[in-house]
């Protein structure tokens, strides 16, 4: 009986932490990792998502900060188009029509701006540090991930506390 109660408590706790289960997250994560792995095996390149922002700016700006990414800018465009279309494949198979967010446009824009600044100064994003850097057991990336996870959780909690919800 005790065992059953404990199991139930465990299950309730699990449901509270993962109300949608973990299947979609774990399987999705495996695909993300597989995408990085396929490119790595063939090319030796460890591809993150955020360098695309600066490398693509090298098409329109002569600034040194963007021009240094010139050698990789073409394949980074191809990689990003692949990401967009890969998500579109998911949508065609599993989604009923298009899906649009209810997050306020100002939050997407201002948040996007800060993400664009921060990822380039901080040398990586959720894929660069979080997936590739952590997978490399890079201490720099582990620190980066801990910093942005904690700050993001704190920020989101503040936003929620002010009553702004999706």
């Amino acid at each position: 009986m005790v065992g059953a109660t404990e199991l139930l408590a465990l299950a309730v706790g699990f449901d509270a932490l993962f109300p949608h289960g973990i299947y979609r997250y774990a399987v999705g994560g495996l695909f993300v990792g597989l995408g990085v792995a396929v490119i790595y095996v063939g090319t030796g390149i460890i591809a993150g998502a955020s360098t695309f922002l600066e490398s693509t700016l090298s098409y329109v700006s002569d600034r040194s900060r963007f021009q240094r990414y010139r050698p990789s800018r073409d394949w980074r465009v191809v990689f990003t188009v692949g990401i967009v279309l890969g998500a579109a494949v998911y949508a065609v198979i599993y989604q009923d029509g298009i899906w649009t967010t209810d997050v306020q446009l100002w939050r997407l824009f201002v948040g996007g701006f800060l993400v664009g600044v921060g990822t380039r100064i901080g040398k990586g994003c959720t894929s660069g540090h979080g997936v590739c850097g952590v997978g490399s057991a890079s201490r720099t990336s582990l620190v980066g991930v801990v910093v942005f996870l904690l700050v993001a959780i704190g920020t989101a909690q503040l936003v929620m506390a002010t009553g702004v919800r999706v």
Binding site: G42, A49, T80, V103, V110, L114, G118, I121, G122
Partner: protein, 157 residues
């Protein structure tokens, strides 16, 4: 006729990058990370599934980065040596991480998930992608100016 393109890359280079992007984007769609609401529900600590996405993906890359260099020295399509993603640590990693975290926490978007979001038809995400480009541009202009000013100072010395 040749199977090598610029920089010693083989012609399968771009198709492979594209295939990797497809898998990556499909994963972001499948994991619901392309929906900012789901990322925000993690940051609100209401659904911790994001941890499985990030660390599940990291487990795959860790295994790949560990095993592949022990089987081969160089990559078939580029001739590049296999390595790991190791960046030097400095104050910028923390400063950038804080700025990134504020933006991520405010919006629930990060670069990869934002691109994928466009793929699932989420056109309002264009505001986020434009924001990211402007942010990347702003820091690039500032840092390009800072580094050329430094060069001027160094040559003046």
């Amino acid at each position: 006729m040749t199977d090598r393109e610029d920089g010693g890359r083989r012609s399968a280079f771009m198709p492979l990058i594209f295939a990797g992007g497809l898998l990556f984007g499909f994963g972001l769609g499948f994991s619901h990370m392309a929906r900012p609401e789901v990322v925000l529900s993690f940051l609100y600590l209401e659904d911790l599934g994001l941890l499985f996405v990030m660390f599940g993906a990291a487990a795959v890359t860790a295994a790949t980065f560990f095993v592949v260099p022990r089987l081969r020295e160089t990559a078939p399509l580029t001739g590049s040596k296999y390595g790991r993603r190791l960046k030097t640590f400095d104050r910028k990693v923390v400063v950038g991480g804080v700025v990134f975290g504020v933006g991520w926490g405010l919006s629930g978007i990060c670069p990869g998930s934002a691109y994928a979001s466009l793929g699932i038809g989420n056109y309002p995400m264009l505001a986020g992608v434009v924001g990211m480009f402007l942010g990347a541009y702003a820091q690039g202009v500032w840092r390009s100016a800072a580094s050329s000013a430094k060069k001027v100072r160094e040559t003046a010395d």
